[in-house]
Amino acid sequence: MGWTGKVLRVDLTNGTCSDEDLNMEWADQYLGQRGLASKYLAEEINPKVDPLSADNKLIFVTGPLTGTCASTGGRYSVVTKGALTGAIACSNSGGYLGAELKFAGYDMIIFEGRAKKPVYLYLIDGKAELLDASEIWGTSVWDTDAWLKSRHQEPQMHVAAIGIAGENQVLYACIVNDLHRAAGRSGVGAVMGSKNLKAVAVRGTGGVKVDDFKAFLKATNDGKKVLAENAVTGEGLPTYGTQVLMNVIHEAGALPTHNSKDVQFDGARDISAEAMAEPRGKDGKPNLLANQACFGCTIACGRISKIDEEHYTVVNKPEYWHASGGLEYEAAWALGAATGVNDLEALTYANFICNEQGLDPISFGATLGAAMELYEEGIITDKDTGGLKLKFGSAKALTKSAELVGKAEGFGKVLGLGSKKMCDKYGKPELSMTVKGQEFPAYDPRGVQGMGLTYATSNRGACHLRSYTVSSEILGIPEKTDPHTSDGKAGLVKAFQDATSAVDSTGLCVFTTFAWTLEDIAPQVDAALSGKWDVDRLLETGERIWNLERQFNLKAGFTKKDDTLPKRLLKDAAKTGPAKGKVNDLGKMLPEYYQLRGWTKDGVPTNETLSRLAL
């Protein structure tokens, strides 16, 4: 139970859709979503395949609690070999698509091969077909969503689509569902584009059965009570969203600024949650209109914003005057602090473009930050940029670049390579703030030591969501640790990684863990599924998933040498703030981490570890 028991396999090369049974033995071992699809991927593709070739596969996957009445139980993930990184990729999204997929009768969709011409998958209550997408190829995510609903006369349909960025195989293209929720990272949208798959349109009217309904209702109600009564999930996140972190991380001296040359941004207040909520100078209205929840969520941290109609970005563009997905912290950081831009409306416009064209705003903003450093250092000139003045702090450089990159026009084509390949191209690899080819998110490892190890060892390249030690090191959840010491961080990172791997496999949102521990989650999983699921089993499953992903990457060709950070973070001390004078202490943490993981000194899981985890 918790499952429909059905997988939809879509052979794009031959244009066929077929049903198969979900492998329940793997579901028992890997729980669902991230873990389960990673197992399918590892079994079905050669880890050395070119991510953009027909040999790669693209998996849309739900968790056992997706589509249930558990709070936040609407998540799905896209698992594939990442176009940006060449590593295993798992990008998690909210909205309504994941639940709708379950309601339509499927736990998972596996796309394989490559369509000869653009297609979309139309899936309604157990009936799946591939249809011609030539009319919507070349259109935005937003127009695709509207066209599909109109074409099929299904206003309640939910759509995941790529924009022109995915079609052009921009390496950090994402997949956007429900207009502004996204499987954002690692270039999963580029993989979808390489398969000539424009969209997945789903409508379902079924439900999800659970093993013990009475126990499930109690466990999920208990969980909702905890979320409602917790000050962070019951009040802080719904009111201010993740963006409230902007001033926190600036004050803590851990806000990567100007391509990580600095750790504090003078303009942080201008682009923060506080700024979004106050009346603007021009029209007297706030940028933020409302908060929004994903399917089943009782937190509702999402932001809905509206751009000032007189702002230069939209003054003659009424198509951008509507309310849409606003800035979350990571996007605001990348589009703002990383580039030195403090114009909130310009950031909101760039964020709209990312949603419309299907771009990961983290990688886009961070790549632009690196390009700005290349420009200011004279490594690239107006001749390279087509006249774009890529100066730190230039809102016009930000918004123009956002318009160009998805279209792969002019210098946008270079920006679409991502920071690593772009900096390599100009002979300055040291200016790329990446790990395994993926751009950092919004925490500087000199000011938050655990995040250095988090980035270095993340299986999908630099990422905060693989072990969010900021929660402990800055916010004190579940308990406070010192962000400026590396002592104890190897164990902290491992614990966060294993627990998060499990949460990412349930169908729940990781933000619940600001209030929930695995003690709150285990009863919900246990009641939904057959067999006993307690905290120990969740942690063991999380560790198994982590090692499975690691094995995939090792087979793909990654080694210990890839578990590192850019020299800037290891050699150049923070210039200001409470971490002034500090670098990241990765050299001390990494060997201890390998040891705790049961890996060799070269970062390879030992036979004993693999055997213990039944791998």
């Binding site: 917790n230 000050a231 962070v232 996140l237 969203g241 406070k480 409470p578």
Partner: protein, 83 residues
């Protein structure tokens, strides 16, 4: 002595007139603690979940013992998180 008081999110409404961008420089008696400054501005202590002094964490439970010094920057938030 002078300290800079920064109150964020819902605590911003407790800032005195003259505050700009969630911050204001204020004059406080020598030896004032974090708790003294918060009390002076009627900031509800139960809502002070994250306190940073010059960017360094100060446990809310020790706010009455932690004495400020001239030039300190005191920043306070209600329950917040993100990611």
């Amino acid at each position: 002595m002078k300290v800079t008081l920064k109150l964020y999110a819902s605590l911003g409404s407790f800032l005195p007139a003259g505050a700009h961008r969630n911050a204001i420089e204020i004059e406080v008696p020598d030896g004032s603690s974090i708790g003294d400054v918060l009390a002076q501005h009627q900031v509800p202590r139960e809502n002070c979940h994250l306190i940073l002094v010059n960017g360094h964490f100060a446990p809310p439970a020790t706010a009455d013992e932690k004495v400020l010094t001239d030039g300190d920057v005191l920043a306070v938030w209600p329950p917040v998180a993100g990611g």
